[in-house]
Amino acid sequence: MQRLCTRRSRGYAKQLKAHYGYKDGSGDYFIIIDTDKCNGCNKCVEACPYHVLELIPNEYDIEGGTMAAVKEEHRKKIKYSCAPCKPITGERKMPCILACQPNAIAHSW
């Protein structure tokens, strides 16, 4: 990807890590997207059964491009939005994480 090459050639190791979510009395809930790794492939957006994610223009980089992000309406209730994929017992298979090949997405809980 052009953006990555430019960074590497300049010897940059910077990462735009976007933390979407919140911490409140009941805990810490963040979806973290490493936009250096995110290549805008949209697979996580399609994989999420609850439509929590979307692709947005990368406004933080002059070179632009797109990056995955948590939809505005879900950022404040991410604990509830992601609850169905995090059952109390049994195996946790988070479709967004499984779909992401570059490992750009992580959950803090």
């Binding site: 990462q15 735009l16 979510g21 406004e59 404040k76």
Partner: protein
């Protein structure tokens, strides 16, 4: 508009004063580029008028029920007395919570980007970590030497760690919000922090403490201590690199700032101007850059 010290029954302790100012002798009539940045927050709305990329005038007021009206009001107020009309502005950028509507803005830019840019303007190019504590949110931003965002975290879900939490407390202990921080520092010994994160529960907890005979300063200290702990938690998620600065209305609360310094063992830089303007300043600067790009001046 300073609060009267006397106990007035209808006094709203949580209400901070609104204000406007013209800051420089620079005459807009000689300037090439006139821009404005409008930051509509959930609690406070700020407008800056920039003349060739320098702060010329600004206004800060409480966001009303209809944010589009407040956007117009705060911008008009910033321009008041300057002789400059809104129509003469070359470019206006809006920012604030969500995709808030500043009806006369040509572009809306995220508050994260605006705060990073604005922090650089206020504090200088050495800024690498920006902590913005607003009315209903708390942001931690890592940026580079140009003010470009490298990493961010925003918590606007929960009142704990925000200005609104402080407003609730100032109302609870009947201390004007502009003095709350000072009051929290006037304890001999720091009490244990309030155990409940949730502002609603913390308020109930504090009522019980007041009933037990805790003086106002002690309760204020306990809440400020808890809030500072919470903010540090968020900051630690993105990491802190010097130079560290604080923006937003709560940057003026010495109770929070000193406790943060104590815990982080890093001294935040001293602001050269009102830190509440960071978002609006960043927006005004983006407006200049966008105008120049549009005009092919870049």
């Amino acid at each position: 508009m300073k609060m009267a010290q006397a106990e007035v029954k209808t006094q709203e302790y949580w209400r901070w004063p609104e204000y406007r100012r013209t800051v420089t002798e620079k005459d807009w009539r000689n300037a090439s580029i006139l821009t404005a940045g409008v930051d509509i927050g959930s609690v406070g709305s700020k407008a800056t008028v920039m003349v060739d990329g320098e702060l010329y005038a600004f206004a800060v007021m409480r966001t009303g029920g209809v944010s589009e009206d407040t956007a117009i009001k705060v911008t008009s107020w910033a321009l008041e007395g300057t002789g400059l009309e809104a129509g003469k502005l070359h470019y206006v950028v809006g920012t604030g919570y969500g995709r808030v509507n500043v009806p006369f803005a040509k572009k809306t830019i995220t508050e994260i980007a605006c705060h990073a840019r604005g922090a650089h303007y206020i504090y200088g190019p050495t800024v690498r970590t920006v902590l913005d504590i607003g009315g209903q949110d708390c942001k931690a931003i890592r940026c580079d030497e140009k003010g470009k965002v490298l990493s961010f975290l925003m918590n606007d879900k929960c009142a704990a760690g925000t200005g609104r939490g402080l407003e609730v407390f100032s109302d609870l202990i009947s201390v004007p919000i502009s003095e709350l921080g000072k009051v929290s520092l006037s304890v001999d010994q720091e009490p244990p922090p309030v155990s409940n994160t949730c502002v609603i529960f913390a308020k109930a907890e504090s009522l019980a403490l007041l009933r037990q005979g805790w003086p106002k300063e002690k309760v204020a200290a306990a809440y400020h201590a808890a809030m500072a702990d919470r903010i540090v938690d968020l900051l630690t998620r993105v990491g802190i690199e010097k130079d560290f600065v604080i923006t937003g209305g709560v940057a003026k609360n010495t109770g929070i700032v000193q406790r943060l310094e104590r815990i982080l063992k890093i001294k935040p830089l001293e602001p050269k101007m009102d830190p509440i303007l960071a978002g609006a300043l960043g927006a005004g600067l983006f407006a200049k850059a966008l105008y120049e790009k549009e005009q092919g001046l870049r």
